[in-house]
């Protein structure tokens, strides 16, 4: 499993692609929004939590189809499926690798972009916490979507249509945490609910994803 993780990470680093792309997209969103909305600090501070979360979510979406598509095309997914490791484990490791190259960097740069969007000081800590707890769910759910469409040619748009509604609860709770944190309110409830979604998704969804992969590899 560790081997697979390092292999995926190395591929992601060397092929370029997803790693920098998601970050660049996130940066662009954070730069474009003030240009479109106008530079008033009060307005920006109000929409910053939502914009940052939506930006992170879309940046995550960009690289989803790479989770399985390349391995499916060159046949290494078949090898992984016949290997002694359960397919559920393969899915979990690949989701983890996806999170390490997209979710984690997004979480780390988010405070910098928060400055651009004039996020109130109290919000930074909660922004990092909520992204750190929420983006794993985005990767796991995204891996499920990617497993569904892996056999479809040019499934990118379909993938977004399938995955976006599944992202709704995570987005709502995640943005709510930052919003409340920035306003200095208690954040316990949405934070716990979001962590619950992440844990539940990480525990159960790999089984659904593996089932979908088995169907697609049949």
């Amino acid at each position: 499993m560790l081997r697979l993780l390092t292999r995926d990470l190395r591929l992601a680093m060397r092929a370029g692609g997803g790693f920098g792309l998601g970050l660049a997209f996130f940066l662009l969103v954070a730069v474009l929004v003030p240009l479109g909305v106008g530079p008033e600090g009060v307005v920006l501070a109000k929409i910053a939590p939502g914009i940052l979360w939506v930006g992170a979510l879309l940046a995550c979406l960009l690289s989803l189809d790479r989770i399985f598509a390349l391995d499916f095309e060159d046949g290494s997914l078949d090898l992984l499926a016949t290997s002694p490791m359960p397919l559920e484990g393969v899915v979990a490791v690949k989701s983890l690798a996806h999170w390490l190259v997209t979710g984690l960097p997004l979480t780390l740069v988010a405070p910098v972009l928060g400055v651009l969007l004039n996020l109130p000081v109290a919000g930074y800590g909660w922004l990092v916490v909520s992204l750190a707890l929420g983006t794993p769910a985005l990767s796991v759910i995204g891996a499920f979507g990617a497993a569904l469409v892996v056999g479809v040619k040019r499934g990118g748009l379909l993938l977004s249509l399938l995955v976006l509604p599944l992202y709704v609860p995570t987005l709502i709770f995640g943005a709510e945490v930052v919003k409340r944190g920035a306003a200095g309110l208690a954040v316990g409830t949405p934070l716990l609910l979001m962590a619950g979604i992440t844990l539940g998704a990480a525990a159960l969804l790999p089984f659904a994803s593996a089932a979908a992969l088995r169907v697609n590899l049949r």
Binding site: V149, L158, L161, L162, L166, V168, I172, F173, A208, R218
Partner: protein
């Protein structure tokens, strides 16, 4: 004699052919009686005027929009567990019907909301969760369209339906988080003495019964079409081999 007999396509086609005219007639009758009664023979509400009558379309279609997804969930589970093709085809047939009901509920709601709330749309929990339900229906139908092998498509959409149900439920409770919103609570429930004044209530129940029957009729017709399409594909494949 068990319910699984109807999983046999031949038996299903025979039974549904016999039932269908009755079902269609009854649903046409119920919908016509319920709508005419509701639209023309009930008094106007003293504050809402005649806009209150949108309820006869809005409530039944909203109920069926959710129930259609529940039916798809059940048939998807049956397909995954027992591999009955009719079950998978019924789920496929129900999706566009459910989507239509969802859209009807949203549009009639907008027509009612415009004069009453002064807005076509509000990000109210109920409205938002219906919009999300629409997206789930769209994704489900798109996945059926995109996958070529019918068995693969049936498997994938069944898995999507199960996972989607969980997340649709989560979204329903997540949007409650904002506030109670504009939409009133449920007007109908079984444990109350009187829900709405009887003059409005009786035609509404007739309408709901009509929409349930209408849904069953449409799903049966569409499932029969799917079964026939499947047979046709099999015939064509056989001719190509010969």
């Amino acid at each position: 004699m068990s319910i699984w007999e109807y999983a046999n396509p031949k038996k299903f086609m025979q039974t549904s052919a016999a039932v269908l005219p009755w079902l269609a007639g009854l649903s046409a009758l119920c919908v016509a009686v319920g709508l005419v009664w509701g639209f023309f023979l009930t008094p106007d509400d003293y504050r809402q005027g005649s806009t209150v009558k949108i309820i006869y379309l809005h409530v039944p279609s909203a109920m069926m929009a959710i129930n259609a997804w529940a039916m798809m969930l059940v048939t998807s589970l049956i397909w995954l567990v027992r591999r009955h093709h009719v079950s998978a085809l019924a789920a496929k047939a129900a999706a566009p019907v459910g989507l239509t009901f969802t859209v009807i509920a949203l549009v009639t709601g907008a027509f009612w909301g415009q004069p009453m709330w002064g807005t076509w749309w509000a990000w109210d929990p109920r409205l938002t969760s219906f919009l999300i339900l629409t997206l789930f229906y769209l994704g489900y139908i798109a996945l059926w369209q995109a996958v070529e092998n019918p068995d693969t498509a049936a498997d994938l959409t069944a898995v999507l339906c199960i996972v989607g149900s969980v997340f649709a439920g989560l979204s329903r409770y997540a949007v409650l988080f904002w506030n109670q919103g504009l939409h009133q609570g449920a007007s109908l429930s079984l444990d109350k003495e009187e829900n709405v004044a009887d003059v409005f209530w009786v035609p509404l129940v007739v309408c709901i019964a009509g929409f349930v029957l209408l849904f069953l009729t449409l799903v049966l017709v569409r499932t029969r079409t799917e079964v026939r399409a499947r047979r046709l594909a099999a015939l064509l494949a056989r001719e190509r081999l010969a």
